[in-house]
Point group: C2
Amino acid sequence: MENIDYLIHAKWIITCEENNRILENHALAIKDNKILAIIPNNVAQQKYTAAQTEHYTSHAVMPGLINSHTHLAMNIFRGLADDLELMDWLTNYIWPAEGKWVSDELVYDGSLLAMAEMIRSGTTCFNDMYFFLGATARAAEISGMRAHIGMTIIDDVPTAWAKTADEYFARSLEFYQQYKNHPLIVPTFAPHSTYTVSRKSLERIKQLAHDYQLKINIHLQEAPAEMTASLAKHGKTPLQHLDELDMVTPQLIAIHMTQITEEDMEILQLGNPSIVHCPESNMKLVSGACPVDQLLKRNINVALGTDGAASNNDLDMISEMRSAAFLGKLTANDPKALSAISTLRMATVNGAKALGIHHVTGSLAAGKAADFIAIDLEQIETQPLYHPESQIVYAASRNQVTDVWVNGKQLLKNRQLTTLDEKELLQKAQIWRTRIKN
Amino acid sequence: MENIDYLIHAKWIITCEENNRILENHALAIKDNKILAIIPNNVAQQKYTAAQTEHYTSHAVMPGLINSHTHLAMNIFRGLADDLELMDWLTNYIWPAEGKWVSDELVYDGSLLAMAEMIRSGTTCFNDMYFFLGATARAAEISGMRAHIGMTIIDDVPTAWAKTADEYFARSLEFYQQYKNHPLIVPTFAPHSTYTVSRKSLERIKQLAHDYQLKINIHLQEAPAEMTASLAKHGKTPLQHLDELDMVTPQLIAIHMTQITEEDMEILQLGNPSIVHCPESNMKLVSGACPVDQLLKRNINVALGTDGAASNNDLDMISEMRSAAFLGKLTANDPKALSAISTLRMATVNGAKALGIHHVTGSLAAGKAADFIAIDLEQIETQPLYHPESQIVYAASRNQVTDVWVNGKQLLKNRQLTTLDEKELLQKAQIWRTRIKN
């Protein structure tokens, strides 16, 4: 008998490995925060002595969901204004609210609130982009989540966090130095977009990202107006603008991409960046629909993100998967497009690939980190059950996520948060609501 | 002090009346299964002595959701097959399964399972179309839901319920005679579609529906192939075919309508039928997108339905509202289209109008039946809260529905079903799964 830390018995295990295996009555053996083995329940019981054993008898266990595009602190502005034209929404509601309220305190409280929401819906890892990065990182350390935090760069848009491009770089590099060796927190670059970041700043980011081996996140070709403006100004699409700077590489994470020309498609195939699809934000703000099926067929990696809760209006990756599958099929005009299993992969392993942590997480396999969730499928809404992956993508809701583990630590236990105080967070939310509403 | 049955205090009351009032700290006074008054909490306490008082202190109380298109018993086939071409799905999976398994027993068990799901997600009234109507009606009587049950007519498609058109009519009229005076169960006609029901049968339905004053439900212009076939066969669209028979009237409930020509639009405006929009089914099966915003702007009544759980894959009207708003905005290319409040109206009062029970239910007003639900919005996912209607449509999930009342009777009490046995239903689901899977 081998001593291990945890033995996790499950009704089903969905590995999200290449072979898309769905195992029945198997167990995860966990030691030193890593998956040691995935073997049949009965074999596991003969082979291991575990310090703690869990029985997820009516659950599917799968890799934790990876939310590949967020603006966590914007949770504070959730539902402040909806059903508006993008520029009306931004200029008359969101920017004024941000200008007035964004601070270290707001980002800390908003990020914690967002992390509580993410953990409660099965997300174990996020890829954020906002201001006051230190506040988000402190929140992540408390929550225990795996956190990729974007060092936002914007030219000539002063915020409470930084006034000039130089200040944005200075704050970012400070953050990088502080967190570069953290086990769960990974700094990334996050130039906001090609229309708000100068060529000079983009080149500086390129150099730094190369030196430090960091991912570069950018909002790219989110909506038709962005394309029109770029074509008018540069005679090329934003992607082509980046390509000219040799920035379309596997380091690039291109967020949204609802607009893709034929020439763009070739650039994507040659450069091999990752795309983050945010279907609910794109629908709600009428940005368009990313041609996900076309991208996947060309072996371009597509991950999934919710975008900020102010535009979406939640951080629920379970419902985002369903929306991605529905919109993906309609856009491709093909009901076979974005199958349940390929959508699950977008929300897990493809996210890990985009963030460059595929060797660490994103699927369940021996040697990878113990980042996994349990979803109870023995509920009225997901019965009878013929295929667990179909129930998760097409019928389950976030409250069926009962348990969440990140790097061998349990963050949600039978629906209860273990690292965060739900009541305190609800009180904080109400304090912010009172301040902002008045 | 006036004696009443129930006093329901709520943090918010969303009436879904024409004025779209959202009241804070008001109460519903309920007597003899009807709403007697909606007045401020403190006034209510001085005016009424209630046999029972409820305090929904962190909840929005709103009209029960009306699911205007279902095939309830198909819950048994939920997730049996997904991600397939429509005809492959129908001919190789659904029809064989139905042919082999549909029976009074399956319809009864499947309908009960569906009703449990609907009650748990805030639906108080449904508009069904299937076979073995008596089984659905018996289930409805047990569950306590408001049930509109379609008398299905199909020519030359024999089922276990009826072999010929004459037999479909005979079974239907038998059902009508049994339930014509029921307080909560309403028979309707449900010719399957113009491509499966002959002109002769349609004319017979028209006459009977006129004599008995019944609504006529029909799947209409669901997908492009239906349009192409109708144009090839009749030289007109299915709607135009019905119009020629003088069947496009306020009695008609046209389900799906993803394809609408300019000429069709004029017919709809003149005839004034109701449309049922099923966005998730239409996306998943790649049927198309109903131009809801255009219809609403022309004052055509649009209600909301989930379709059967085999195609959708749930009966969750909360998520269906979100999908309707998202798809509606994208289709209209206008983020102002299908606002939160207009989407709430589609799922409530517009459904009541479609079913012809607007004088009884669909909004909260003195004199209407006590059909209402409470949604707890003081949860991490719906905080901070600036506008309750936004949180319900864009951020809430079905499990936040805590209490459901139909005609003054409580069917869900703090998430517990009062009329149905959840455990027994889960066992039944597993028995059907074992039978069908093997």
